[in-house]
């Protein structure tokens, strides 16, 4: 398949849908380094991008890849990279730089088993906390976790839009099952796609501040070569981008970095809820585990056991308020994860002692099955 088959229904792989979503979002630049299980994203874009005059490069490592996309984004190109665990570790340096310098970009991390080389071809959700805290220092984090192939397409477009709107990196984190599975995908019509246009300042050159403190915390960004000349540094900087150690300037920068996310949580929050309000037992899950949860819910319904499903699509920032509001009155919250327990601590943090938060961990490289979930629910009900 070449180009995006607008309006058609096809059998599509998750990683392929990510690549096509990037094309739909108008990607200008991709830099990456081969790594299982994300390689298809790079391969498909290597084939497609030169055909439409867009720039694609395979760099010498993942550090170079994320560095290159930051450089490209600053020069006005919509940019993306794709990797998996070991590469994601290397990219933490550039991720922090992009957070600090407020550069929009999309980083796709298709999760495999870790730590280290781990289980390269098998599924895990072990990078959830790394995505939140992996790069040093306090920093904003936005992470989206698709659960099907359609979402690989639509959330990739959304990731580009959010990155532009918030001037910050957005991480798309399918797990290996989602990246490698194939299922039916009906592509939208081209005119149905909503792409946030790249921002550009509307002030005279001498008035431009690269980090102007607007009401939302985000101001239109000029690009290198546009005539607005500015300085970008990973050092803590003032509103013009020049290094500073002045206490008020440092605090104001750090507060704005945080608040540009926390003040607009409503824009970022995205949960899929099934029978949460009417159930006393709720399965809290994300990524491929959600698919098993849907199947388990059906099996349990036949046994007259009612369970709800709470699935954060945006996993960071965590939906604190909604979780507290909807889940603090439950009897049991089952938190199945393909790791030794990461998101579960967020759920525990937000619920009272009267709520039983029950873990279900699997970290052997295989999926959590519906049967496992059914058994776990039967045990607590």
């Amino acid at each position: 398949m070449s180009g995006i088959p607008w309006g058609e229904t096809k059998l599509v792989q998750g990683n392929e849908a990510v690549a096509l979503g990037a094309l739909a979002a108008g990607i200008d630049f991709f830099a990456g380094y081969p790594i299982t299980p994300s390689t298809e994203v790079a391969e498909i874009l290597a084939r497609e991008m030169p055909l439409i005059g867009k720039k694609w490069i395979q760099m010498e490592d993942e550090i170079a890849s994320i560095s290159a996309i930051i450089g490209a984004s600053l020069a006005g190109g919509r940019s993306m990279t794709a990797t998996s665990g070991p590469g994601f570790s290397l990219m933490q340096e550039g991720l922090g730089y992009a957070c600090m310098t407020e550069v929009p970009l999309v980083l796709v991390n298709v999760m495999r088993g870790g730590p280290s080389t781990g289980l390269p071809t098998q599924v895990a959700q072990g990078d959830v906390m790394q995505a939140r805290w992996g790069t040093h220092g306090d920093h904003p984090t936005i992470v989206l976790a698709p659960s099907d192939v359609e979402e690989c397409f639509s959330l990739t477009i959304k990731a580009f839009n959010i990155a532009e709107e918030f001037r910050t990196p957005v991480i798309l984190m399918p797990d290996e099952v989602i990246g490698h599975m194939r299922e039916k995908l009906t592509f939208p019509k081209e005119e149905e796609i909503c792409v946030t246009p790249p921002s550009s300042p509307d002030v005279p050159l001498e008035w431009y501040e690269h980090y102007h403190a607007s009401a939302t915390g985000v101001s239109p960004m000029a690009h290198f070569g546009s005539g607005y000349r500015f300085h970008v540094t990973g050092l803590t900087h003032d509103t013009h981008g020049f290094p500073t150690r002045k206490v008020d300037e440092v605090v104001s920068k750090m507060n704005r970095l945080k608040q540009k996310i926390t003040r607009r949580l409503d824009v970022l929050e995205n949960n899929k809820l099934h029978d949460v309000e009417e159930s006393k037992v709720v399965i809290f899950c994300y990524g491929s585990v959600y698919r098993s949860a849907l199947a388990a819910q059906k099996i349990l319904a036949k046994q007259r056991k009612k369970v709800g499903i709470f699935r954060p699509v945006t996993i960071w920032p965590f939906p604190d308020r909604t979780v507290k509001e909807l889940l603090d009155s439950k009897d049991v919250i089952l938190v199945p994860e393909l790791n030794q327990g990461q998101i579960i601590h967020e759920v525990e943090r937000l619920t009272s002692d009267s709520v039983r938060v029950v873990p279900l961990h699997r970290y052997d490289g295989y999926e959590i099955t519906p049967e496992q979930l059914v058994a776990a629910v039967q045990e607590v009900m």
């Binding site: 055909l51 490069i57 010498e60 490209a72 690009h223 290198f224 970008v232």
Partner: protein
């Protein structure tokens, strides 16, 4: 206001940026002067230039000059520059780096930028040590030299920046120093005037760290060393071998006109997109 301000003011940022971070006697400012003179003589527009750097003393240079400027992470200037150049090929991309930045942590990036013949001019100020962190050894610290992390003398052989980048495929490779400034101006101007990956190694003294650790005297003494211990390649070729032994050779070592990466990529796009139309 004086009738004609020195031309350098056109290239320097007026607000908040001075005094600079460099120590008295440091050679980096002289290299910055050479870069500004070379750009001025080429008549380039400020808007068209991107100066990108990594981390270290040399990498602080972009904050002082009024181009598009990008101070990145340690060793990564060329990777950031690669993305920026590809996204906006009309920009002239200059990467300024130190010896540690470009040869140690950025070693992988420089050999691959050279291999690709990426259209970037890399200006590497070599002061033989990590100045910003207090004078530790770098990949260009000479055998036997003392630094804060080689208190008993350096036991690792050093990299020759010019030989390394020449072997890796750069279009242009040259060495100058901050004593022979007129020569350095012309070497940098030539570096900026072509396509592909272009490297200038500029030798510079670090009297505060390397000079003190090796009892090389003050900044003036270290400048005299550059005068006495280096020789221009044209002169060197005329002299018998014994007269040039132990001297560091300056001049242009490689000046090729191989097709740069940007043009090669564009040709690829033209070829495959034509295929699509058929």
């Amino acid at each position: 206001m004086p009738a004609r301000l020195p031309y350098a003011y056109r290239y320097l940022r007026s607000k908040k940026k001075f005094p600079h971070v460099w120590c008295p006697g440091c050679g980096i400012g002289i290299v910055m002067g050479s870069i500004i003179r070379a750009i001025d003589s080429l008549g380039w527009e400020l808007d068209d230039i991107l100066m990108v750097s990594g981390i270290g003393c040399t990498s602080r240079m972009p904050v002082y000059v009024d181009f598009n400027t990008l101070h990145t992470t340690h060793g990564r200037a060329l990777a950031f520059g690669t993305g920026a150049k590809m996204a906006n090929p009309d920009m002239k991309v200059l990467a300024v780096m130190g010896d540690g930045d470009s040869m140690a942590i950025g070693g992988n990036h420089i050999i691959h930028a050279a291999r690709r013949n990426m259209d970037i001019t890399a200006i590497i100020v070599n002061n033989n040590n990590y100045g910003m962190t207090g004078g530790q050894f770098s990949p260009t610290t000479p055998m036997g030299a003392r630094t804060s992390t080689t208190p008993y003398g350096m036991i690792e052989p050093d990299f020759d920046i010019c030989k390394l980048t020449k072997a890796a495929g750069a279009n242009y490779v040259a060495r100058g120093d901050v004593y022979h400034v007129i020569e350095l101006d012309s070497i940098i101007k030539k570096a900026l005037s072509g396509s592909g990956f272009r490297v200038v190694e500029a030798l510079a003294p670090c009297p505060t760290n390397f000079g003190r650790a090796n009892r090389l005297g003050d900044a003036v003494n270290m400048m005299e060393m550059l005068r006495n211990d280096t020789i221009n390649i044209v002169q060197a070729e005329k002299l018998p071998k014994e007269k040039t032994e132990g001297k560091i050779v300056r001049g242009v070592f490689v000046d090729r006109n191989e097709i740069g990466y940007i043009e090669r990529y564009q040709k690829l796009c033209d070829r495959v997109s034509a295929g699509v139309r058929k």
